[in-house]
Symmetry: C2
Subunit: 375 residues, 2 copies
Amino acid sequence: MLDPQQHLQQLREAIDNTDSELVQILLKRRQLAAEVGVVKRQLGQPLYVPEREASMLVAKRKQAEQAGLSPDLIEDVLRRIIRESYQQQQAADVHLNDKTVVIVGGNGALGQLFVRLFSSAGAKVLILDKDDWQHAEHFCEQADLVLISVPIAHTLTVIEALPSLPPGCILADLTSVKRQPLNAMLAKHSGPVVGLHPMFGPKQVTLAKQLVVACHGRDEDQYQWLLASIERWGAHIKALTAAAHDQAMAFVQVLRHLSSFVYGSHLAAEQADLQQLLDLSSPIYRLELMMVGRLFAQDAELYADILLAEPNNIAMLRRYVQRFEMELKRLEQGCKDEFLQEFTRVREYFGEFAERFLSDSQRLLDTAGDSHQIS
Amino acid sequence: MLDPQQHLQQLREAIDNTDSELVQILLKRRQLAAEVGVVKRQLGQPLYVPEREASMLVAKRKQAEQAGLSPDLIEDVLRRIIRESYQQQQAADVHLNDKTVVIVGGNGALGQLFVRLFSSAGAKVLILDKDDWQHAEHFCEQADLVLISVPIAHTLTVIEALPSLPPGCILADLTSVKRQPLNAMLAKHSGPVVGLHPMFGPKQVTLAKQLVVACHGRDEDQYQWLLASIERWGAHIKALTAAAHDQAMAFVQVLRHLSSFVYGSHLAAEQADLQQLLDLSSPIYRLELMMVGRLFAQDAELYADILLAEPNNIAMLRRYVQRFEMELKRLEQGCKDEFLQEFTRVREYFGEFAERFLSDSQRLLDTAGDSHQIS
């Protein structure tokens, strides 16, 4: 029999060889996926077809199970590989070479992303920034689309300052609030108008699987080509009224940001030892801490503007603080029964979402655990 | 030249073949990892060696890069495969066959996990529950370890109700607060005492990479075998005073839970349309929503007990609410400059953690995006 130490060495070499085979397979698969991208463009097919991806994964899970391998393992590995494939397939897809697009704020982070997208689609892209406003009239008179991508606080001023646009030109914006900019655009321009909110950050490499909210302004038929391009880049479009959008964003954006901001500010004021907290964090607390801390690595102005944009939100935020105080009083008085009753009410409100969120987040926490570096 | 539709079909078949090869490689790697587990046990080596895993990943990243493959891709895929390996290596590792372990509350969720761990290590495990307390004396007089795993609200009562233990027997608990249970255990038993807080849920399959906090009570030498077993199962042990533990937990556990609870309660009271919020959520908001909703799929009693356990926390929570109100007033008055100043202060407090949290969470959000099902 082998000496265990030698045996271990042999096994590790065998694992290394297997991993080299793995690298080769991933390379081959990437090459094939890139070719699929080329053919799909020839056929004018979209990059991302949810049903096809889902049915493919079901088949692979079954295959893995029959081979005695964990279906979750093959699904997670394939999903990760597929993400890489989408990025590969993101090569030039020229379909807008008859369009001229003016991007106001095209040097900003999100502006640059859309400059890249429209350019690679063959459109003539003109960037208008605060330093070269003298070109505004000349640029806009040839535009098929004027896209506003400036900080929230400047959006209304910039829209008002625009020269008049050709009647068929689309006026659109990318602001993360929608009611006020949409009204301003409708007042400015009598042609096609649509408000867009890309629900992703400027660092996004591919639009595949991403969401863009579209708030109808005027002349839907005439801005269809813009929405079609966004879908062609892989994103999903959700149509919504500006009012419904802003109301939902008050919960998912304003309240979450404010809550994270105050939590960070509180930790700082209480002089909590961050390294200690991190050392003591299980994956879930680590994740919660990350979600707070990441805010402070980002653009302070952007957060300030989002929080200040809509004075109507204040009343809702005030009700949140009142509820927080009420719960705190309950805790102080040790009212466990009342806490349990409220817990039950909220559980009923979440319904089947609660279980779904638990299992979805567990999957994600497992991934977070994979890369947990013990400090 | 091929008809594009036929070409697409051929490429998809080629991808299917590649995926079948992938399944075979994953199977082979799993088999090798299982053998490594067997040999490691022969050698008495720990399951998880952080340095070895890290240096292996550095080597694989380099190899991928030389082959023209994304290093992040191979790292993510390997980390996911390695998680599976740890579960494989978790087979019987008999090293406690001379020990008798009494687990009080061994039928509870976390209790069952430790029953399984100690049993598979060869220990004689006796479960003591509220229904069979008549066995308490008989069980405890033969015990090498009495481990308390009951709901927080009952921990102190259960400790007081214990019969007297043999002088060398370890008394330990798994409660997620530590100061009061540790004091109660020290008062009860004059032999070795240690307070433990496993920083993971009862659904954990393997302890590899998990964290257990240990709060010293008495006779460290005599409870070393317990800590050694926990490390042998793959967990990392962090020694901390009970006071420091409870203070840190007030931030990472109590405040986060309360904050998520109030947020859920607020959404319910405001009758926010959950499906709408979910439809509108980018990966990061989806994640934030999941972190809140998952709470309500879990044990209400446990949350109530955690929030109510330590009356000392109320003052800190009250300061949090006051800070929230202060920020809200600033927003109401449109004080953007003050907001930006506070943002800068908190950013300085987070220091390099902010950037680290941003990039770590981005990686996780990318994974969340992989499985985003557009509804």
